[in-house]
Symmetry: C3
Subunit: 361 residues, 3 copies
């Protein structure tokens, strides 16, 4: 047998959750959205990371910035709305301290008369910010391990699908009562497909699954679409156009990749399915699922992503249900680690990578 | 004075709750229902014990079995419905591992090809299971103290009431915001009856109470029904027939027994009232109250347990209210142990037994 | 710069909350209401202090008493209603133990026959009780620091406003999701007024604020009413009469005082605004706001406090909102202490007093 599942404390112990914050989520590149979510200067979105609110904003130079949503004066939360526009910078709603979009304190009423007060000492606390193929990623610790950074081969892999240019045609947010690792595990095997996904089975067979990334932060690989299915959708027909750059092989494939610790990326012949994974507590996870298409496809009057959305929404919900049942089981005192099968080799690889980070000196 | 009430931490401290799990609830025989709840092979009920889900099921041989509701593969909760039938054994909803009703793994898709995989290594985790006079009891630790086992005299005591054959004519579940011991205390004295139960007082007088079990896990004794009351019911009339085997004395008595740590058993001239006590957290307890009658009485077209149900439901609710007020008081920092009166000698005996288990080396 | 704001743990750590209980809230005089709330013998109100329920009652001699709401027998909560009348003393709803209004056990059914039982051993647990200018204050630890007691100058300060005789014409209770100190901070500066209170700005200017108590448990001072505003109210007109004893100066002033750790007192030309601050948990506070007027004003048929109530209710809600935003920010891991401005000198003084009590040996 491959290996064993993780001990129960990894799914249920708040101390493990806090240790993950320190060893993984403060050090890794965390996906917080798409560059297309904030196309213009002043556009912002709020995100939550490790229980703290973040502001992700495009500055005057067109660069994406990420700040803690905390005023440097009395600590007040600066922004409340989930997204919006900031025409004049970021103003604290309490005492009107005002920050530029690059985080520098621009004005603080009456503070200029305070002895020794230097506005430059009170810039917003910031996180590193990078964009790969349209995904905005942030990193708390500058010295942290650069998952995505170290894997240019991975990102270039999506060029044939024009990933950098794609925009979401649809988005669904799910709140799942399960630890984030259970969701990664679930996404990483099709052993469960025959029982859990009766509608997916005819489309692509678990037996066709293989893996081209098998160790480290990137894991996964292709499954082959059965005859009669041009993509994964209700009915099996395309929602968009097959990406023109795809090889003949890729036109009959769906890929399922996990990017530790916050993303699932699934290239389809005509669209890209992405899951952004937001850890919320030791037993709750938010999943933001998007269906990405080229903007020129989205602007067609007859375009609809409905068949792809419907199929994956159904499949997602089937998955979340067994994930929640698994959470309930593994947090029982009676749970003991069980054996991974050959079909679950990516789960064992995920656990190895996870434990290597958790046990790092 | 007899003794003093327990210090406040015993009613409010989550650490005490966990200690009780280890020293009492994992070692004692725990009542989980009646054999008549699962009459046929494949019938099951789910129960919760110490926060963990249990499957109680009748197997192909007619034996009652109890398993942790956790798959041995990935830890998934196997069953979700509170009760039902399992015609083909227990199948995990995630990867279709299938267990026989005796807990042995029958099939696990694709695992036969795994090197070194022996199905017999992956039977469901089980608890000991016994049935006394129709009550299904389970015990986590095989070496645990066998409360009920050690008391054959107690169980045989109910022969005159045909306890083994009785079936529930009615069931009410109550969720009470009080520690389980406060409910045992409440059931163990009638000092409160004059103020709390104005309707019970005319039926049977607190002054008539005596005790025939006064030390150890079994406590309690009879009260005498006043003239004009054939049983405890609204109106005082019988709902069923007086049990034919009862002595003249028992025909004018109601007995109130507590069986540590999960049962109250109350023989009446024509029925048996039972309370099953499920500890849920340090300040919440579920009570499942049943009115048991002989099956041949229940099948009479004119039979109704209504008068007994109505009376005890009213009385139960009166009790739960003062139990909840007591929980609120004893978890106050200002609470200090108070004096038990002579009428509360069974509470002092309960506390002695409880503390002896909690302090055992 | 003056000083820095407190570290985040003071606003978010349950251990700090418990330490405050021990070092501050069990030792200080705590305001629990007005003497006019319980005018006659037997009148009572319930209050919560440090998570424990208190009974505040007027006894047969007309004295105000304060007891823990816990029976000395089994610990049952004695009273449930938020207020009411106790014609015959305090009777426990469980076993009918009955206490006099001075807390002495009057009768306990059947206990007289218990050997060694002395009713005088079982008086209700009590707190010290004092009334200053109509405010009922209680103190848990007899040796505790006597905030109010030590400041006769402070209390006598309100003679011109007839404080002792005033009665509430209106009361509003607010539940705010913020630490109690954030509410004291908010009340102690008008630096936020220009942005947060656009309606207050024309009435009285932040620049007019000064302080006549600047160190210790009592802090604050006056602001000057602008021309055209006889008091603080919607429209700026008086709701009552100007207090006849006021100096010409005080007729054009509003005072804002904080009395550590449970009161804000704000004398106006024609009424007294009071906020009672009830700490509920590390991140929740209840505020009970009252508009006090002379009883003879209240009894006038044409009297209405509406203009004063409406104005302050709006202003209160503006404050609570920024307090809640501040709570969200300071409990973020990203929060770091920031600089107090000169306009926030009372906050720095509050923090000094607070820390001196928290760090006392």
């Amino acid at each position: 047998m491959e290996a064993s599942t993780l001990p129960g404390r990894y799914f249920a112990d708040p101390d493990v959750y806090r240790e993950e914050t320190r060893r993984i989520f403060n050090k890794s590149w965390i996906c917080v959205g798409r560059a297309s979510d904030i196309p213009e200067a002043g556009d912002f979105i709020l995100r939550e990371l490790n229980g703290n609110s973040l502001i992700v904003v495009r500055d005057e130079n067109g660069d994406v910035r990420c700040f803690d949503n905390v005023c440097r004066h009395r600590g007040t939360r600066l922004l409340e709305n989930a997204d919006g526009k900031l025409p004049g910078g970021i103003q604290c709603p309490y005492h009107a301290w005002r920050y530029q979009l690059n985080g520098v304190l621009k004005s603080a009423p009456n503070m200029s008369s305070e002895e020794g007060f230097k506005p430059t000492d009170f810039s917003l606390s910031s996180l590193q910010c990078r964009t790969w193929e349209g995904f905005i990623c942030v990193q708390r610790d500058p010295g942290g391990s650069g998952v995505a950074e170290n894997e240019p081969a991975f990102w270039s892999r999506f060029r044939d699908w024009q990933l950098a240019e794609l925009v979401p045609a649809h988005r669904i947010t799910y709140d799942v009562n399960a630890n984030w690792k259970i969701l990664f595990h679930n996404f990483s095997e099709c052993y469960h497909c025959s029982l859990v996904h009766p509608q997916l089975n005819p489309v692509t067979s678990a037996a066709s699954a293989s893996n081209d990334f098998t160790e480290g932060p990137l894991l996964g690989g292709p499954m082959i679409l059965n005859d009669g299915f041009a993509t994964v959708s209700t009915g099996g027909e395309l929602c968009g156009d097959v990406f023109p750059g795809l090889s003949a092989e890729d036109r009959q494939r769906v890929y399922f990749y996990t990017l530790f610790p916050t993303m699932f990326i699934s290239p389809h012949p005509d669209y890209m399915l992405t899951h952004r994974v937001e850890r919320r507590s030791v037993d709750r996870t938010r999943i933001i699922c998007e269906w990405l298409f080229p903007p020129e496809i989205c602007s067609r009057s007859e375009f609809s992503p409905e068949a792809a959305v419907e199929f994956w929404d159904m499949t997602n919900r089937q998955d979340w249900h067994v994930c929640e049942l698994t959470q309930q089981g593994v947090q029982s005192d009676a749970y003991q680690p069980g054996p991974y099968s050959k079909q679950e080799s990516m789960l064992a690889a995920f656990d190895r990578h996870y434990l290597s980070l958790m046990n790092e000196q």
